[in-house]
Amino acid sequence: MSDGTLSPKKILMGALTAAVFAALLAAFIFPMFFMLSTSFKTLREANITPPSLIPSEFHPENYAAAWRRMNFPHYLLNSVFITVCTIAGQLLVCVPCAYAFAKKQFRFKNILFALVLFDLVVPAQAVFLSYYLIESRLGWIDTYRGLVVPFAYSAYTIFFLTQGFKTVPDEILDAARMDGSSEIQIIALIMAPIAKPVIIAATLFTFAYKWNDYFWTSILTTSEAVRTIPMAIQNLMPTDHTIREWHIIMSGNVMLFAPMFVIYILAGKYIKESFTYRGGR
């Protein structure tokens, strides 16, 4: 709006922009706010219609109740262990894969990459039965490895890393080769540190995906032994038709969400960097 005049068209555009922002705000912020607000309410206030925005009394002890009733430490440990192992597995598998796709020439490269891209659009619902059948043959149902090993491969992570690795200049890798580095050294000591923002961002996405995963955990587990926090929250839901304790459930949700929020705040810089990444130049 350089000339400062307000034509009807500009007013309309301004209003539309404001409306879109408001909608986005409502869609993203409001549910979180409502979750947080409800987690401090009493059982009665949590179930009134219309719901209140701000709790009239604060009940932080809801968190203690959620902690106890979920048997939170057990699930927290499972969540941490499975998420960390999955991330480590992905770094071991997807980083070399992405390096090869981005920087090496080999036979069937284009076909293989096309398959990875195709995998991006295959919904989990289409393949979960195969995963289930294979894992039950292997006896991996209800084990940590059943929840980790298949997820060390991720089409999304490979794709994301490949795009980032491509921007690192070949000259630098050649320089490392002339410095006597092996390909493994190049990946670990040159590519990974240079493309650090991209790798951290990919790790965070994997973290969020695995930490919040309910679908796969519910399919590949049959007991509480290796289940994670999202399933524990499900356990807070009553199975009969008694009243739902939304305040406790929301407390559980906040406990699920909090670590991710903290990590996002700590590493958000890298996520932003990864999208404008230009190969360390």
């Binding site: 200049p169 000259e171 630098i172 002339m178 410095d179 240079i194």
Partner: protein, 372 residues
């Protein structure tokens, strides 16, 4: 020549296995050549042949400049020697050892890349020691080498700086120090000065020569700038379309060009070439063109019209068009009006003749009295 520093041949402690004495590979005849290239060919995966049947011998300790227009295959050529690009055909020998199939790190060569190719996440010091560690140098040794090479390039105070905080010239010095640190048998430099501004370029030219004289390693230096080639090289290889057109001393390629391409490419300005008869072309340097017919003249009389004039300070630079429309350039302190028709005279001994295949042919007796 005594080196200025305590750098030893890398591979002494490390995994390099290219010392000739312990090498079982067949030694070839060109023993006095440092580098010998036999029938090199490079065809890229897309089918483009960038280098075709290239043969070249490079003498031990020489500063060889490979010069040619952009896109003629210079980088490809250098990357093949470095091992960064596979040879489609042909063989590469260093001191008689066939290194065609060796990994880049095992060839005893170091390279200075066009865009520096420093490791952006490492300090200057780490950039240099990274390769040394790979070659198995001890900590004390690395420290001594670091001090020597950083001193040599004048960057002792920048050991702990990251490349991003350095200027272009400083980055280039780091790249140079990194290459020197390994005291390679062969240095490869790909247009190392092309990213620097003009003044710095001239300064770095002198410095590169000084460093070369100090450490005495065989160097292959690439440039598209023939001035750089003439001032730096003790041997110049002129390249065009993936082939070496001529290889010789600066004097030789300037005064004794083997073909039209070299004649036109080397020199500022390049040689004037005009078609004569039977497919033969005649060439002459613009400084040898006379505006007055000397007494006892034997040579070429060339009729032309002045097309443009530029004042270069001491002299004028003219472009002239011959009757056939060929353009030639002369420099003279005479003031000539554009559009003027005149004859210029070139003595027989200053004429060069080229055959139909554009190769040089003798002029003796050919052009005692020619007129175009």
């Amino acid at each position: 020549m005594p080196g200025p520093h305590r750098i030893k041949n890398y591979g002494r402690h490390g995994r390099g296995d290219y010392r000739p004495a312990i090498n079982s590979e067949k030694r070839i005849d060109a023993a006095e050549s440092m580098i010998s290239l036999k029938g090199l060919k490079k065809t890229y995966p897309n089918g483009f042949t960038a280098i075709d049947n290239l043969n070249l011998d490079i003498q031990d300790g020489s500063f060889t400049v490979l010069v040619g227009p952009s896109g003629c295959g210079k980088t490809t050529f250098l990357r093949m020697i470095a091992g960064c690009e596979e040879c489609t055909e042909g063989e590469i020998f260093i001191r008689g050892r066939n290194i065609t199939k060796k990994a880049p790190g095992d060839r005893g060569v170091a390279m200075v890349f066009q865009n520096y190719a420093l490791y952006p996440h490492m300090t200057v010091e780490k950039n240099i020691s990274f390769g040394l560690k790979n070659y198995g140098y001890g900590r004390e040794e690395i420290r001594a080498i670091l001090r020597d090479v950083l001193e040599l390039v004048g960057l002792l105070d920048y050991a702990k700086s990251k490349p991003s905080s350095l200027s272009g010239g400083q980055r280039q010095r780091v790249a140079l120090a990194r290459a020197i640190s390994k005291s390679p048998e062969v240095f490869l430099m790909d247009e190392p000065l092309s990213n620097l501004d003009a003044r710095l370029r001239v300064q770095m030219r002198g410095e590169l020569i000084r460093i070369h004289q100090k450490i005495g390693s065989t160097t292959i230096y690439i440039t598209h700038d023939q001035v750089e080639a003439m001032t730096m090289g003790d041997c110049i290889a002129v390249m065009n379309e993936g082939a070496i057109m001529q290889c010789g001393s600066p004097d030789e390629v300037y005064n004794n060009p083997a073909n039209i391409f070299t004649a036109r490419f080397i020199g500022d300005p390049g040689m004037n070439i005009v078609a004569w008869r039977d497919g033969v072309s005649l060439g002459f340097r613009s400084s040898k063109a006379l505006l007055q017919r000397p007494s006892q003249f034997a040579g070429l009389t060339l009729n032309a019209a002045v097309r443009t004039r530029e004042h270069l300070g001491e002299v004028y630079r003219y472009t002239l068009a011959t009757a056939r429309g060929e353009e030639i350039e002369i420099r003279n302190d005479y003031l000539l009006e554009t559009g003027r028709h005149l004859a210029i005279y070139i003595r027989g001994e200053n004429l060069y003749a080229f055959g139909a295949d554009s190769g040089r042919i003798p002029t003796a007796g050919l052009v005692d009295d020619a007129e175009i």
